[in-house]
Assembly symmetry: C2
Homo-oligomer: 547 residues x 2
């Protein structure tokens, strides 16, 4: 296998561990815990895994430990550092006992159900240390939710003599990990289940989980290319760059990138929703910044847009809901309408409010909303190229303002969408260290007989030696939420808090950033330089953890 | 001004210089030179700057040098390292005499004509060392071609007491630099003009100029994100990524990236043209690789596409020519045709060959070809989203093959276009060193009274200390070519040579890369690590210079 010079050099990196994990480890247990809300309901659903104490690992003397077999699963979208969770887990169980074995289930949770697995030997693990991607065993989106899946999984678990499963995933996957832990505990199967917090979106975090892994590397990779675009923008001085960033359910990525690069504009979906902004409000806001900069002779700039924006605009949600409903009931008639008349047909049949919004949309987007529907007949919001939608509507508004004499600039736009560019980047030092520690900590939770815990590494803005490793009962992060019409126990998703330090820092500076050209150029992730260049955590984490 | 940690750390980098430039320098002159072709014609056009000798700088004793004023211009598209050319030039003239001054003309050659300039002081220069972008003085696309421009420029040159101009640009800008040098020499104005080879496209190179600056950094930046996408692709195993890369007139960038990342497919425009491949041939080739991989269970992969592809397909060039001609003569009638009938109208009126090609194009592209025309009424080839055009046509072909039982895979596509992400990246060590040396060498050419020369740094695959610095008469690289209906003296553009080492390496491996998943992950540019990670030149350069 051909490898780049950096792949070869990076393979030798030894991730930094918390001091407490470097030698023998003992578990220090805290007080019993409660779920963040709906305590009675959660307790009733998780009688065996509710109320367990927080765990912190400290230096101590540990007894000799028998060999164990452990299974590991990568669940959902890729995030930088997954391979290091696995190598930390591997090194941890090998340190407990050199005869321990690690099995990887192939292509996600489906691999457990389908009995598709491979043993991860030292030779395989060494090939993947400090690399990006989930390709060591692949990932998948099968949800582990049903008893028959749990039982199917238990068959192979028994066959392989697996004592514990580690599930690396986002909020949903960790919720399911806890359901599985509860099920195996209730059945007395003697199988532990441990979760690890993964997602580039950054929306799996709370009082006990400071950040999900991959967020650091993905944001730094996006910030690198956005910074490069900003430098281009400031050199060519003729384009507005509309840059959409992955992350449908929260705007953490866009906000973090904004804090890193200081763009002229960053839209934060959570704010749009809280202020009940309409699409026109968002367009007007962008157009106004562009007009103000044009008045200073600056016909260029950058706009960061979170992928999920459309779904956070209350009026757009109402439009989409009515469209779904209308097309479900009038699909046959609609199919008979001539293509050139479909737009008018829809405008005529929607309610006044939604009709006006629909009429304001550029033709391409309007067509997409009425035609490209998923197998259930629903509009596919994720296909909308929000960056182009906004720039087209901004262009229209600026043209109108020009007629009115309110704007006298030149507007040219370029469009970008960054997502796949960062999900599988090689982990930054932070993610390499954090992930390795999470995996190593998981092995210690297993050794201590824990189940229904999430591996937790805290104090992450301090040097790695001072990080605090332990475990958090997953039930502690749960509340009851309506999903698909049913109340379900789920881990609360962390959206951007408008009263949180990262947003407040952004809000306090955005007017200056809009008007001035205050671009920062983060450059590519560095692995070998001074610590302030190589080891700095995200701005989000630094601001959130600042005392 | 807020700066990132890397910006601050990188500012301290001291670019490596060729040994010969480290102390006092003398010029060693070679034999008189000839242009690469059309010697008589070029000689007649450049009586004062033709036939000059090659220059090589060697260590020696240099006399004391009076203070000089120098002007510098950035011309055309941004390329990483422009600021280092300027800082090398600044340090060079300051070393000759501490009272020398450097003036930067603002926003490109237009700044000379419009007398828009600023003095570049040590304080300004220090802000921009080792940074990307051209924002120190901006760039522009005004062409210096007319006598009145030359005279206008001379006014400000006289006023500022400028002895020499350094023009940093691509092949056209360097051609114009030589025309200007000849003009000032013929007029005895005593103003020297020196060129520097800049372009990320890599198409300004020849026997004497090994590479243009910026190509190294831009390709490494693209290869970083393509590598990340490949790792994602190989983890998710469900998408084909169609990745278009900047570079309209040559495929060096796509080829270099292919050599770095080993994708499943890379299209090289020069090969498409040489083999007279049709659009359908290109589509069939891609679809066949996809079908072959699907047969192995691999429904994922990567396709690299040079931005200029469409213009290299002979049949597409013929179609576009006929369309331009047809719409020029029938524009009024066409404007009357209903939108829904325009496609049929064009199909009916074109020649049989072109009509068939037009009919095979996806609707969006067909519409674009007939509607989006430039101010001269010509089709705007650059607006075509070639990556989407190809993936749509591939999808159509695969669907047909599925009907015929020749293909049984799943095809999902993602699209990317990388250009602005790399043009203004902070220069790699190679570009930082190379550019600084080019700028420093320019100052030595000035000191030695040279004009009509391009700054040249060779032996660039060796350590920087062994690089050979000197000057090449620009006329030496010229031939006569038809431009806008007239024969003009121009620097030969370097396209990808199908018998050159880089293409041959690619061609020898592409079948294996198509079938296997042989991805390489270059990772982000590193500035502080081991030399094999930080200082390696491009694969193109290594292969071309290999003895």
């Amino acid at each position: 296998m051909t490898k780049s010079a950096l792949q070869i050099a990076r393979a030798a990196y030894q991730p930094k561990l918390p001091q407490a994990l470097k030698g023998a480890v003992v578990a220090k247990e805290g007080e019993p815990t409660q779920s963040v809300a709906d305590q009675e309901a959660i307790k009733a659903l998780f009688p065996n895994t509710y109320g367990m104490p927080l765990i912190q690992f400290v230096e101590g003397e540990a007894p000799a430990f028998p060999a164990i077999n452990v299974g590991v699963i990568l669940s959902g979208g890729q995030a930088p550092g997954g391979h290091n969770v696995i190598s930390g887990l591997f090194d941890g169980i090998k340190k407990l006992n050199a005869d321990s074995k690690l099995y990887g289930f192939i292509l996600g949770p489906g691999g457990l159900v389908d009995h598709n697995y491979k043993e991860l030997t030292a030779e395989i693990i060494d090939e993947y240390r400090n690399t990006g991607g989930f390709d060591i065993i692949g990932s998948g989106r099968t949800k582990l939710e049903k008893e028959e899946q749990f039982e199917k999984g238990y068959e192979i678990i028994k066959e392989l003599g697996i004592k514990a499963l580690v599930i690396i995933g986002g909020d949903d996957s960790n919720t399911n990990a806890c359901v599985l832990a509860e099920y195996y505990a209730a059945k007395n199967y003697g199988v532990q289940v441990i979760g690890c917090p993964k997602t580039i979106d950054g929306d799996l975090k709370n009082e006990m989980i400071e950040t999900s892994f991959g967020f650091d590397t993905a944001c730094k990779t996006y910030a690198e290319v956005i910074g490069n675009i900003q430098r281009d923008c400031n050199s060519a001085r003729k384009y507005w760059h509309f840059i959409k960033l992955m992350g449908r359910s929260a705007s953490h990525i866009a906000l973090e990138c904004a804090l890193q690069v200081q763009p002229n504009i960053c839209i934060v979906s959570e704010e749009v929703e809280a202020k009940e902004m309409s699409l026109d409000d968002v367009v007007t806001y962008i157009a106004q910044v562009i007009a103000d900069r044009a008045a200073d002779g600056n016909n260029f700039g950058t706009v960061l847009i979170p992928e999920g924006l459309i779904e956070f605009i209350p009026a757009m949600k109402r439009l989409i809901a009515e469209l779904n409903d209308f097309l479900a009931h009038n699909g046959e008639e609609f199919a008979m309408v001539k293509k050139s008349q479909q737009r008018e047909y829809i405008i005529k049949h929607l309610s006044a409010e939604n009709s006006a919004i629909y009429a304001s949309l550029p033709e391409g987007v309007a067509r997409q909303l009425s035609l490209d529907r998923d197998p259930h007949g629903n509009v596919q919001v994720s296909l909308i190229e929000t960056e182009k939608l906004l720039s087209e509507m901004v262009a229209t508004k600026l043209a109108a303002w020009k007629e009115e004499g309110k704007y006298n600039g030149k507007f040219g736009a370029q469009h970008h969408f960054f997502g796949y560019e960062g999900r599988c980047a090689a982990p930054s030092n932070f993610d390499a260290d954090y992930c390795y520690s999470l995996g190593y900590t998981a092995s210690m939770l297993i050794a201590n007989g824990k189940t229904g815990y999430m591996s937790s590494v805290r104090n992450t803005t301090a040097p790695a030696a001072e990080w605090i490793a332990g475990g958090v009962p997953i039930t502690m992060m749960m509340n009851m939420e309506r999903r698909h019409g049913e109340m379900k126990p789920v881990i609360q998703k962390a959206l951007v808090k408008l009263d949180g330090a990262p947003f407040k820092k952004f809000a306090a500076n955005r007017e200056a950033w809009a008007k001035e050209t205050a671009y920062v150029y983060p450059g590519p992730i560095q692995y070998f330089g001074p610590t302030e260049v190589c080891d700095e955590p995200t701005k989000t984490l630094q601001l959130e953890q600042a005392k």
